[in-house]
Point group: C2
Chain length 186, copies 2
């Protein structure tokens, strides 16, 4: 696959996560890569197409991560901590996650992009509910809620804390993550 294509995807993702979908333009990408506006359209005919591709790439990356954790026989704690580490890294880089940056713009997205965002969010949520269910069954996690509901709570905390940490300074993101973890300990 083309290097330029991959760079566009990566740059587009970073732009969405720092400025938001409706604030970034093909010009932002072409200028940064030292190419012309039309070159970006060569790889991604429309912005809708680029947006969808960025989400698709992320879904793929997430599923590869899960496969990798399964093949390495990670238990539920290790899986949860790996997931949380993605968010700690996002926080360090002052970026949101894709769900948290595209979510508020959902009413402005095309149907295909929206469908892909829904898919990605559901995959993550479903996976999280899954490890919470099995973790609870194996007495590795302890909580009273329905796993589905607990997954929502944890996911929400991670997503919005990234947003709040860019607004409020002196924000202790790791303490938030630690609380999530402590809360699940038996």
């Amino acid at each position: 696959m083309s290097v330029t294509r991959e760079k566009i995807i990566e740059l587009g993702e970073n732009l969405i996560r720092t400025k938001g979908y409706n604030a970034f333009s093909y010009q932002d990408i072409s200028t940064e890569l030292g190419i012309k506006n039309a070159a970006v359209h060569y790889y991604f005919p429309s912005k809708e197409n680029l947006g969808t591709s960025i989400i698709k790439t992320n879904i793929q990356r997430f599923e590869e991560m899960i496969d990798n954790m399964h093949s390495r026989k990670f238990d539920e704690w290790q899986q949860l901590e790996t997931f949380i580490k993605i968010y700690i890294k996002s926080h360090r880089e002052q970026k949101l996650c894709l769900v948290g940056s595209l979510g508020p713009d959902i009413n402005t997205l095309s149907n295909t992009t929206k469908a892909e965002l829904v898919k990605m969010t559901e995959i993550i949520h479903h996976w999280l509910a899954g490890i919470l269910t099995s973790g609870k069954m194996n007495n590795i996690f302890s909580f009273n809620d329905e796993p589905q509901n607990k997954a929502t709570l944890i996911f929400s905390c991670l997503v919005a804390s990234l947003q709040l940490s860019r607004i409020i300074d002196k924000f202790d993101y790791k303490a938030v993550c630690q609380s999530i973890i402590e809360d699940l300990k038996p």
Copy 2:
């Protein structure tokens, strides 16, 4: 104060909370109100100015709500539930809260608008930490975290759950709120 001015503020807020700051235009407002684009500029010379005014109005509304709760001698439970009800209403209307919709766009806001968003977020966070502190002291609430940290967790859950509920269907927002409440019970 002018009725048109107030309508613009209200409409602008709703547009931010449904489409996002960078997706709405003065045209959206003028068309809806049956006036011309320039009439909106008459009241709010720039979009930055309108954005800032919308946040200022919200801060005022929040502070009036707090004053009202104090004068009616609301205890910590009643205050928390009143706050949560705002979010349940937002969910019913399929809208985000201002913090959750402007937060992801923070890097595209002017310094004055950004400052106002920071102020609003800090006021809410500080108030929430306050009732958690006094609620814990009076043994009305029970939790292990630092109140500051607990406030972040609860605030995050409310903010991001609104976002997630627009993405995932079959989303039980009230169950999320109920979990937050149950978690604080002694």
